[in-house]
């Protein structure tokens, strides 16, 4: 009797599995904060409302670790069905023949009309070789965080040099001056840093400064590297001065503990992703200010974050199901929900009209800064073998921050090594 029931239940399981499409979903968490739980909740909702699709979310670490997992999975013949991957990896994914273009799916949904619901600044990193490959999901810009209480504490000194303690610095020049006044020392030891330029993603922040100086690092078609420009050198010179000359910036705070330091009052100003907002608002016991990044020649920031990609070499119905999943996750309500929970910009314009978003913005208007900064935003640099390029950038930037290389040596090295990589793909 028992054997019969076991066989029967096995048969039922097989029948049920046969009807349900199982999707493997690889995703990263790129900022400090318990975002994996939010993803789990959203996926659970999707699975509940779509009985014939079962998405299995697989947390893969940060952006670099997720890319490594994706590479391994694809190149060993066992790709995920859908994944969120850092936007700069587009060329690498195309070269690996890992993803499918989404033009057909978008056409079926109404073509241009469908794309209009997403912010154009975020779509910039979806195009290559005349096709569109990705849909934005967790998108950000770098934003400027400042501790309003610490600013007020130093109001007298700031006003003495003609600076306003009630607003953030607007230019590089002001940035240096504010940072010098806001740094609190006891003898040789720094108790509160004026500013933190974090390590870990300093390549992204370097890109921002170079845009603010009116230049670029890698051309849009990923053929020309421009690291040894005068503008890039000026940026690195500024970073060197902030860290090693004025000593207002600690060399290489890790990416994940930088918001923790800021929220604990150990730094007055900080460059960080808008994705750090929820953690900072929750743990800071001071008034948190968020502004555009200070300008030089112009305002500027690269966009950042991860896009949705659908993979090749999986059954067509899996790809169709993945498309449904992507549409749902970026629909106005859920994009708004994700933005509120994560601090990322809501990629869907209509999301800002949702009730939950309006309620949230009344309490925390800081969430709008990254979105408003989009008009000064540029697509992030993309290139094949981006992992290697990023490592070269981070290694050289770190060396300058630690005083081991001069800015000139660093930009020369980056230019030489990165152009060599780009040349291979000509």
């Amino acid at each position: 009797m028992r054997k019969f029931f076991i066989l029967l239940s096995l048969l039922l399981v097989v029948l049920v599995i046969g009807k349900v499409i199982n999707l493997k979903f690889f995703y990263p968490v790129g900022v400090a904060g318990p975002l994996a739980r939010v993803i789990d909740k959203m996926v659970e909702e999707f699975n509940k409302t779509h009985p014939n699709i079962k998405v299995e979310p697989v947390y893969c670490g940060n952006y670099d670790q997720t890319m490594q997992k994706v590479q391994t999975a694809v190149l060993s013949g066992n790709p995920p069905d859908v994944a969120v991957i850092e936007i700069s990896e587009l060329y690498t994914l195309i070269n690996m023949d890992a993803i499918i273009p989404l033009d057909e799916y978008i056409e079926k949904e109404g073509g241009e009309e469908f794309l209009k619901q997403y912010y154009e600044a975020f779509l910039g990193n979806s195009y290559a070789k005349g096709k569109i490959w990705a849909i934005p999901f967790q998108r950000s810009t770098i934003v400027f965080y400042w501790n309003k209480d610490l600013f007020r504490k130093h109001a007298k000194e700031l006003e003495a040099v003609g600076l306003d303690p009630n607003r953030a610095p607007r230019t590089w020049y002001e940035l240096v001056k504010y940072a010098q006044i806001l740094t609190e020392r006891e003898g040789d030891e720094v108790l509160v840093h004026g500013l933190i330029l974090p390590g870990g993603w300093n390549d992204w922040i370097f890109e921002a400064f170079v845009y603010q100086n009116g230049s670029y690092l890698i051309s849009r078609d990923a053929k020309k590297a421009n690291y040894n420009s005068l503008e890039a050198l000026e940026v690195l010179q500024l970073w060197h001065e902030l860290t090693n000359v004025y000593k207002v910036n600690p060399p290489l705070r890790p990416w994940n503990t930088t918001p923790v330091d800021f929220a604990a009052g150990k730094a007055a100003m900080m460059y960080y992703s808008t994705g750090g907002l929820p953690l900072i608002l929750k743990t800071a016991n001071f008034e948190v200010g968020v502004s555009f990044l200070p300008m030089h020649v112009q305002y500027g920031t690269p966009v950042g974050g991860g896009n949705f990609f659908i993979f090749k070499n999986i059954p067509k119905e899996h790809q169709d199901a993945a498309w449904e999943f992507i549409k749902w996750m970026t629909s106005p309500y859920w994009a708004a929900y994700w933005s509120i929970q994560s601090g990322y910009v809501c990629v869907n314009k209509k999301g800002y009209e949702e009730e939950i978003m309006k309620e949230h913005l009344k309490k925390y208007p800081q969430y709008l800064v990254a979105r408003d900064q989009l008009k000064f935003a540029y697509p992030k640099i993309m290139a094949p073998e981006f992992q290697r390029i990023r490592k070269i950038m981070v290694t050289n930037l770190d060396a300058v921050m630690l005083g081991q290389k001069t800015p000139k040596e660093a930009v020369e090295t980056m230019q030489r090594e990165i152009q060599a990589i780009l040349d291979r793909y000509k």
Partner: protein, 290 residues
Amino acid sequence: MVRKYKPFLFLLPSLVFLILFTYFPISYSLFYSFHEYNMYTRKPIFCGLKNYINMLHDSIFWQVVFNNVIYGVFTIFPTMFMALFLAILIDEVSKFKTFYQMGIFYPTIIPMTAAAMVWMFMYDPSLGIINKFLGLLHLPQPGWLGDSKTSLLSLIIMAIWKNLGYYMLLYLAGLQLIPRELYEAADIEGANWFRKHYHVTFPLVSPTTLFVFIVSIIQSFKVFTQVYLMTQGGPGYSSSVLVFYIYENAFRYWDIGMASALTSVMILVLLFLVLLVFGVFGKRVTYSLI
């Protein structure tokens, strides 16, 4: 007839696993090391010794090797001597022996991942307990994992803490085999504590020492988890070790050819070192006194 081959039939299952999971991957890796196989070529293309030549010209490779040597020297010798020292002390103590043993051994039981996470927080330059403690004593507070001058040292300290207990227990066991009469004889001769242990203990635990030496050399080459979790080889390549560099080449850059070449070199170096140690010290080991 079958009787003659029975022993080999018993060995067969183990042999299958050995071939599948050890010999086959090693030979395949050696095979790939002579090919150019990366994200650009997408299929292995024969290139002879090109990977090996590139490796020798790669300054990062030499830095990584240097890091491995430093890491090895500063984990193996301090651990060995501290383990023996602690084992001798514990052996001589009469009360709370188990408490001391557990206290020194428990780091070994903790999974490396958990230990790495805890130490990462301890090493944090502004919020970590280590720098807070140094601050109280008005000592300089280094950047630990974020400073290329101290990143390797941070890993070394953590590794010593983690492995000390295991080697100490091995030495404790070895100490039990030394006849008490030898110590009594030394006492009668008027030897102080240090001479006693230098002339009696140290030579007589040499089998354990040989074992500890070989095992810790191998361990120092296998370092990966803590590097991956705590520093990712950084800043730059200051804390990158050979196995981590191989991982980076294989899974971050997908340069399978170079990663395979690096692996082959690592195996050869390890083989050479182990043979060297056995050759030089193997003869000086005093076995069984019973």
